[in-house]
C-alpha cells in the first residue's frame, strides 16, 4: 500500500528481532474477546488514488461552487480573493507537516511566523498583545467571555443582539455548564444597533459586554460609549470582529476602548471551506496577558546570543497547569494562522486599505441597486461590505428560488433565527471584491423576480 514503507519481508524480519511469533503477540494486552480477528465487516478495502479522487470528486461535484455563481453570502464567512502565493507557501512541507513548536530549535520558522502573526493581529485590533490563534471566532468569543469573568470575578455577561447567533449559541451552551449568566437578545430589523440598551443594562455584576463590529446585520456602531459605560461599572468590553478586512477602513475596537478583541480570521488567506478550518483571533491589553488563553510565541536569544523565538508564558498551557489551566486549547489553527499572516503581509497597510475601500465601494453600489427594487428596503444606515434588506416576501424561500435561477443570493435571517417572525423578511447580502458587475446584475434580476 502506497503510504506504508514496510514490506512483508521487513515485517517478518522485525518480528523476529523483537522475538514475537506474529503481530498478534504484540496485542496480548488486549483482552481476547475485544480483539478483532479479521477485518471489520462491510467496509471496503484499500483503493487507488484514481478511485479515491473519483469518489470524492463525485461528492464535490454535487455542490454549487461559490466561484461559479453570482455569490453574496457572508454572516461570519466571507469570500475574498486569495493570492496564489498563499496556498503555495502554506504547502511547503516544512510548514505543512511540522509539529507543534514545542522544540524551538527545530521550529524557528513556525515560531517566527506566529510571532509576526500575533503582531499583525494586535495592531489590526488596536491591542497590545495577541495570541497564536484559537479554533475560530465563535470559540474565541466564549474564551473572551470566560477570560473577562476571571479578570472581573463576575459571572454575568451581556451579549449584544448584533452578535452572530452561532457565537451566541456557543456561549450559551458553555455558560449553561459553567454557571455563567448571559443576557442575550434577538436583533431588530432596524438601522440602529442595541448600543443604548446595552449601556443601560450594564451593572456592577456585569463581567463584560460583548459587541460585534460590524454586527450580524452589517451595522457599524461606535464602541467608545459602550466601553466607557462598561469601564465605569468595572466591566470589560469584548469586541468581536467577524470581518477583519473591515478594519482597513474603520477604526479598530482597541482604539475605541475595547479590552479584549476577538475575531474570525477566515477572511484573509483561509477561504470558505464550508465553515472550517478557520482561525480564531484573540488580542487584549497587555495587563490581561496572563489570563489570555492559548499559545504565545515570544522573542528570546539563543545560546550564542542570536535572536530566536519560543512559546512563552506556557505556564498557562494546560500541559503545565492541568486542572488550573485557563483554557484547554491545545492544537489550534497553526496553518490557517500562517495563511492569514502571509495574506496580510502581501496586502500590507496599503493593500488592506485598498481592499477594504474596494469592498465598501462595491457594497455601496450593490445596496443602491437592490434597494431600488420595488418593495425592497435597505435596513442599514452604515455598513462595511455587508448589509441587510427587508424584502416584501419571506427571505428563506426567496433564497431557494434564487438558487433555482443560479444565484447564491445572500443569507436569510430565517436560516439564522428560525421561527423569529419579525426577522423572516430579512436578507443579509455581502459584496466583496470578488463580485463582478455581472454578478450584481444577476442578483438584481433574480431578486426582482422572486420579490414579485
Amino acid at each position: 500500500m502506497r503510504y506504508l514503507p514496510l514490506s512483508d519481508s521487513d515485517r517478518r524480519e522485525m518480528l523476529e528481532k523483537i522475538g514475537a511469533k506474529s503481530i498478534d503477540d504484540l496485542f496480548v494486552d488486549v483482552p481476547r474477546e475485544a480483539r478483532l480477528d479479521g477485518l471489520i465487516d462491510g467496509l471496503p478495502l484499500h483503493a487507488s488514488e484514481i478511485s479515491v479522487e473519483r469518489q470524492l470528486g463525485a461528492m464535490a461535484g454535487k455542490n454549487m461552487v461559490a466561484g461559479q455563481a453570482p455569490f453574496f453570502l457572508g454572516c461570519g464567512a466571507y469570500r475574498h480573493h486569495i493570492p496564489a502565493s498563499v496556498d503555495h507557501l502554506i504547502q511547503r512541507g516544512e510548514f505543512l507537516t511540522s509539529y507543534t513548536p514545542y522544540q524551538p530549535e527545530i521550529a524557528q520558522g513556525t515560531l517566527q511566523v506566529l510571532f509576526e502573526f500575533q503582531t499583525q493581529v494586535a495592531r489590526l485590533f488596536g491591542c497590545d498583545v495577541a495570541n497564536a490563534s484559537m479554533y475560530d471566532g465563535s470559540t474565541a468569543c466564549w474564551e473572551a467571555i470566560s477570560m473577562a469573568g476571571r479578570i472581573t470575578r463576575r459571572k454575568k455577561a451581556i451579549l449584544s443582539s448584533g452578535l452572530h447567533p452561532h457565537y451566541v449559541g456557543v456561549a450559551t451552551t458553555m455558560a449553561s455548564f459553567t454557571g455563567d449568566a448571559l443576557e442575550t437578545a434577538i436583533p431588530e430589523l432596524a438601522a440602529k444597533t442595541d448600543a443604548e440598551r446595552l449601556i443601560e443594562r450594564i451593572d456592577e455584576e456585569t463581567s463584560a459586554v460583548v459587541v460585534q463590529y460590524p454586527d450580524i446585520l452589517g451595522r457599524i456602531a461606535d464602541l467608545a460609549p459602550i466601553a466607557e459605560a462598561a469601564h465605569a461599572k468595572g466591566a470589560l468590553l469584548v469586541a468581536v470582529v467577524t470581518e477583519p478586512v473591515a478594519l482597513g477602513l474603520i477604526k479598530s475596537p482597541g482604539e475605541m476602548g475595547a479590552d479584549i478583541v476577538v475575531g474570525e480570521g477566515q477572511s484573509l488567506g483561509v477561504g470558505l471551506q464550508f465553515g472550517g478550518p478557520y482561525v480564531g483571533l484573540f488580542a487584549c491589553a497587555e495587563k490581561f496577558v496572563r489570563q489570555m488563553p492559548g499559545r504565545l510565541a515570544g522573542e528570546t536569544v539563543d545560546a550564542t546570543g542570536k535572536r530566536g523565538f519560543v512559546l512563552t508564558l506556557s505556564t498557562r498551557e494546560q500541559h503545565i497547569r492541568r486542572e488550573k489551566a485557563t483554557s484547554n486549547i491545545c492544537t489550534n489553527s497553526g496553518l490557517c494562522a500562517l495563511a492569514f499572516t502571509v495574506h496580510m503581509t502581501l496586502l500590507g497597510e496599503k493593500g488592506l486599505r485598498r481592499l477594504a475601500s474596494l469592498n465598501h465601494a462595491r457594497a455601496c453600489e450593490g445596496a443602491d441597486r437592490l434597494a431600488a427594487i420595488p418593495g425592497v428596503e435597505l435596513v442599514n444606515d452604515g455598513f462595511f461590505n455587508e448589509f441587510t434588506l427587508r424584502l416584501p416576501v419571506e427571505a428563506r424561500p426567496a433564497v431557494h428560488a434564487m438558487v433555482e435561477r443560479g444565484v447564491l443570493g445572500g443569507v436569510s435571517l430565517g436560516r439564522l433565527y428560525p421561527g423569529v417572525g419579525e426577522l423572516e423578511k430579512g436578507l443579509v447580502i455581502a459584496v466583496t471584491e470578488t463580485v463582478t458587475n455581472e454578478d450584481v446584475d444577476a442578483l438584481e434580476s433574480a431578486l426582482r423576480e422572486v420579490c414579485r
Binding site: Y3, P31, R35, L36, I40, L43, A47, V52, K62, M64, R79, P83, L89, G93, E94, F95, L96, T97, Y99, Q103, E105, I106, Q108, G109, V113, T119, R123, L124, D136, H166, V170, T173, S176, I220, L247, L249, I250, S252, F274, G275, G276, P277, D302, Q318, H319, I320, E323, N328, T331, C336, L338, L346, G348, E349, K350, G351, R354, L358, C364, L416
Partner: protein
C-alpha cells in the same frame, strides 16, 4: 515602531533552545531571517488593487484616521521571507518525527488535492442545503466510518481538535447525568494523562482527582474501584495510554465505573495503534475523541488545524451537540441544526462552534480512510505497533524504558 510586546525577552538567555543536545546538532539557530517588521514597509504591497473612492458617508463616522502599522512585502519578497523561514523548521517531510504523545504520520498529497477541490474548498457554510449535499455527504460518510471503526453508536463531528472533543464528550456526560437527575462533581484522571484531560474537566466545571498508576504503568484497578462512588461523574482514560501501553483492564474499568453510576471517557489520541484491531465500543467506553490530525493524517501544520470528532455510546447519543449530518429517508443529506433539532434531536446539549465543523479535515480524513480501506487501516495499526516495539527493542541497550518489560507498547 515596536513589535507585539507578547515577545518580550526573558531575562535568562537561551530559554529552552539552549539546553543540552538538539536534534539537528546545532546549538545556535541557523539562518537568520529579519522580522517582517524589519523588512516590510507600509507603502509596499504584493497585491494590486485599484484605489476605490470611498465617501465615508456610510461608515457611521468611524473611518480610520491612524495608521494600522502593517508593513507589506511585494510577492517576491514575501515568497522569500516565508520560504526561508520554512527552512528553519524540521518536519515529517524531512524525516522521522520521534516526538511526543502524538501520532505524526505521512500526510498524503492526494488529501491536499482533494481538500482543494472547489466543490469542497469554495462553498459557504450557510449556502442553502440543497446546494451543498455533497459536502454533507462527506461528513456523513466519514461519520459512518468512524462509527464502524470504533463500534460505537454515533459520533459528534463538530469539535475542532482533540481537546475540543474531550470537552464535547464531558459535556455529553454532564448532560446525561443532569438528565437523569444525578449531577456529580468529580472526574478521575490518571496522573500520566495529557494535560488537556484535567484542563478540559475543569473547563467543563468538574473537580479533578488523580487515579494512581500501578507499577506496570497502567491504571491501578483496585485503587480506582476504591475511589468510585456517587460523586464520580466520569473517569478519563487514555488508551493506548501516553506511555504507549494498552490498558488491559479497560473492560473491567468500564464495568466498574458503570456499576458506580459513572461514565467512561476515553482519550483516543492514540487510536492509531489499535484501529481495525480493537473497537472501543467493545470495551464499554461511552465517549472517545479521535484526533483526525493524528489517526487520520490531516497535516499537523505546525500546530493545527485539527479536528476532534467524538464517538458516543447509545447512552450519550441523545445529548450530542448540534449540528450534525443526517441522511434523510429520501436519500438526500441534510444538517440537523437548531431549527429542526426540536423534532429530530431534542436533548442536544447545544452548539460547540459556529457552522458545522472542520470540513477541510473531513475531506482529508475521508480520502485517507478510503485510500487505506479496512485492510489498510488495520495494517497501519499493526505497522505502528511493530515499529514501536522494534525501536524499543533496538534502544533497550541504550536507554532505560521504564515499562519496557511490562508488555508490548502500542505506538511509542
Amino acid at each position: 515602531m515596536t513589535v507585539n510586546p507578547s515577545g518580550w525577552r526573558p531575562t535568562a538567555s537561551g530559554a529552552s533552545a539552549a539546553g543540552g543536545e538538539t536534534v539537528t546538532g546545532n546549538r545556535a539557530l541557523m539562518l537568520e531571517e529579519p522580522l517582517l517588521f524589519e523588512r516590510g514597509r507600509l507603502d509596499q504591497t504584493g497585491v494590486d488593487i485599484a484605489e476605490a473612492k470611498v465617501t465615508g458617508a456610510r461608515l457611521g463616522g468611524l473611518e480610520r484616521s491612524r495608521d494600522i502599522g502593517l508593513p507589506g512585502l511585494s510577492e517576491p519578497e514575501a515568497v522569500r521571507h516565508y520560504t526561508r523561514l520554512s527552512r528553519q523548521n524540521y518536519a515529517i517531510d524531512l524525516g522521522l518525527f520521534p516526538l511526543g504523545s502524538c501520532t505524526m504520520k505521512h500526510n498524503p498529497r492526494l488529501n491536499e488535492k482533494v481538500a482543494r477541490m472547489p466543490g469542497f474548498a469554495d462553498i459557504h457554510p450557510l449556502q442553502p442545503q440543497e446546494t451543498v449535499e455533497g459536502a454533507i455527504e462527506v461528513i456523513h460518510s466519514l461519520a459512518q466510518w468512524l462509527i464502524d471503526l470504533t463500534g460505537m453508536h454515533s459520533v459528534a463531528m463538530s469539535p475542532k481538535a482533540g481537546a475540543h472533543g474531550e470537552l464535547c464528550g464531558l459535556l455529553c456526560i454532564r448532560s446525561a447525568l443532569q438528565d437523569r437527575g444525578d449531577p456529580r462533581a468529580v472526574v478521575l484522571v490518571p496522573q500520566s494523562a495529557h494535560g488537556t484531560n484535567p484542563a478540559t474537566a475543569a473547563f467543563a466545571g468538574y473537580r479533578v482527582e488523580s487515579i494512581p498508576a500501578n507499577k506496570a504503568g497502567r491504571v491501578d484497578l483496585d485503587a480506582l474501584k476504591a475511589r468510585l462512588g456517587p460523586d464520580v461523574a466520569a473517569v478519563m482514560i487514555t488508551n493506548p495510554n501516553t506511555c504507549g501501553l494498552f490498558e488491559p483492564d479497560m473492560k473491567e474499568i468500564s464495568d466498574a465505573v458503570h456499576e458506580a453510576g459513572g461514565l467512561v471517557y476515553c482519550d483516543g489520541a492514540n487510536f492509531n495503534a489499535i484501529v481495525g484491531r480493537v473497537r472501543p465500543g467493545d470495551l464499554g467506553i461511552d465517549a472517545m475523541h479521535i484526533n483526525l490530525h493524528k489517526t487520520f493524517s490531516t497535516p499537523h501544520g505546525g500546530g493545527g488545524p485539527g479536528a476532534g470528532p467524538v464517538v458516543l455510546s447509545e447512552a450519550l447519543t441523545p445529548f450530542a451537540p448540534l449540528p450534525f449530518a443526517s441522511k434523510m429517508a429520501d436519500g438526500s443529506y441534510r444538517l440537523v441544526e437548531e431549527e429542526n433539532a426540536g423534532e429530530m434531536h431534542p436533548k442536544a446539549f447545544g452548539r460547540m462552534t459556529a457552522f458545522h465543523g472542520q470540513m477541510g479535515m473531513f475531506t482529508r480524513a475521508l480520502a485517507y480512510i478510503l485510500s487505506h480501506g479496512a485492510d489498510g487501516l488495520r495494517q497501519v495499526a499493526e505497522d505502528a505497533v511493530l515499529n514501536a516495539n522494534y525501536v524499543l527493542r533496538q534502544l533497550e541497550d541504550v536507554l532505560d524504558a521504564p515499562f519496557a518489560k511490562s508488555g508490548p507498547c502500542m505506538h511509542e
